[in-house]
């Protein structure tokens, strides 16, 4: 492959990377919005805060994702109404909380969760997460996928041998399955540690240099901060 072909092949990706928004920017914006909404309990502030979720909802947001959440919210509103000193006070508080939960969830589900574990990990790295924590997140995620298969196999085996387990025996079997997978994980972690040592230890385990903020990121963040500040200020005004 010639140098030109190589350059041509990879140029679209390079261009996409240059225009991509830094995941840390998205995380900071969403968290600052959620914080502003969390401290707001006045109706004008909540009305201003609802503009962003309303725009997101208008753009093909999967509404069924909020159905289960609002079922739980209905239970929460009823609980608060019944346990609050005054029924109407509990009803208002429950409604305000349900509104906040919906707004925060819509923003997180459309901005932060699509980044995936990798994107959020990258954002936390840009924000200065300690090296040990980075290693812990990477290895826990890896451990989940590695141990999932063993856990599933053990549970299937239990279901085949004793399909009608009940009561105390069921809890005992569940504890035994968890403990046996724990022992397997301990053995597996020893092998992983040996492999890490063979490669020269944790030095360079997560040395990938993450992108910094570009001018677009700064502008986006500034706009979001102004919006979040307006929501918070309107609440205290």
């Amino acid at each position: 492959m010639s140098q030109n072909a190589y350059t041509l092949e990879f140029s679209p990706t390079t261009a996409a990377t240059e225009t991509r928004r830094n995941p840390a920017t998205t995380l900071i914006c969403a968290v600052s919005y959620a914080l502003a909404v969390s401290v707001s309990d006045s109706w004008p502030a909540l009305l201003l805060a609802s503009i962003l979720p309303a725009v997101i909802l208008a753009k093909r947001f999967p509404l069924h994702a909020l159905a289960k959440l609002n079922l739980l919210n209905a239970v929460m509103i009823l609980t608060l109404a019944l346990t609050w000193p005054e029924f109407s006070g509990g009803l208002v508080m429950g409604t305000v909380i349900a509104l906040r939960v919906n707004m925060i969830c819509v923003v997180f589900m459309s901005m932060v969760y699509p980044l995936g574990t990798g994107g959020i990990y990258e954002a936390l790295c840009v924000l200065g997460m300690p090296e040990k924590m980075r290693v812990l997140i990477i290895l826990t995620l890896r451990g989940i996928f590695t141990m999932h298969e063993r856990f599933e196999t053990a549970l299937i085996s239990v279901r085949l041998r004793a399909p009608n387990l009940k009561g105390m025996m069921k809890l005992r079997v569940f504890a035994s399955v968890t403990a046996s997978v724990l022992v397997q994980s301990a053995l597996r972690s020893e092998n992983v540690m040996r492999a890490v040592k063979c490669r020269g230890g944790f030095g360079g385990f997560s040395q990938y240099r993450h992108e910094g903020f570009n001018s677009r990121d700064v502008l986006f963040m500034a706009g979001f901060m102004v919006y979040a500040s307006c929501v918070a200020l309107l609440n205290y005004a």
């Binding site: 609050w84 856990f151 069921k170 504890a175 035994s176 046996s180 301990a186």
Partner: protein, 199 residues
């Protein structure tokens, strides 16, 4: 035991994050690199075990297994719980990111307390009955202490939440008993097969 987004006030969220950051820093400082792989894999097993639906009568529940996590991981329990809750929030949308600090503190602090109060006694106990009793107490204590901390966060947000907090505590009693039983069986199994994991 997860507190949802949008419930806690700004001050309570900050208090939760302050407690969690202190616990995570302490945990990371006292966890040597050799132990990190073990911590990660143990944390991932507890993460998977907490996803299993345990049917109790007409309803079902998810166990937290915080007591065995505290006994096995010790000081490293704060970072382990933080990572587990972060992954739960990102992968399954349980809890949330803003409230992650409060949730981490409500779950990891009782687990750390369990390690301090029951850890040594469980490791040194010889009889099966004594070990099971201590483990059962550890399991119930962790769940009830977690519910109490979550209730405190709600009370800090608004005094009028106290009625709901009472309901929260009552609802956690059966879960605490089940956690206690599972912890007792799990610790007995580990003590017989791999006693070094508890030290």
């Amino acid at each position: 035991m997860h507190i949802s987004e949008g419930i806690l006030s700004g001050g309570t969220l900050i208090a939760g994050w302050a407690g969690s950051v202190a616990g995570i820093s302490y945990g990371l400082k006292h966890t040597d690199p050799e132990k990190i792989v073990r911590t990660a894999f143990t944390s991932s097993v507890f993460f998977l075990a907490s996803l299993v639906n345990v049917r109790i009568g007409p309803s079902s529940t998810h166990l937290t297994l915080l007591a065995p996590m505290g006994i096995i991981l010790g000081d490293a329990v704060f970072p382990a719980v933080f990572v587990a809750l972060l992954l739960q929030a990102v992968l399954f949308h349980f809890g949330g990111l803003v409230v992650l600090g409060a949730n981490t503190f409500a779950m990891a602090f009782p687990a750390l307390m369990t390690h301090v109060i029951f850890g040594r006694a469980i490791c040194e106990s010889s009889g099966k009955f004594r070990t099971m009793t201590l483990s059962f107490m550890a399991g119930t204590f962790t769940v009830m202490a977690g519910a109490c901390i979550a209730g405190t966060f709600l009370g800090m947000t608004d005094k009028n939440f106290l009625g709901a907090v009472k309901l929260l505590l009552i609802a956690h009693v059966p879960l605490a008993v089940i956690e206690g039983v599972v912890t007792a069986f799990l610790v007995i199994w580990l003590k017989r097969v791999m006693p070094e994991s508890l030290q």
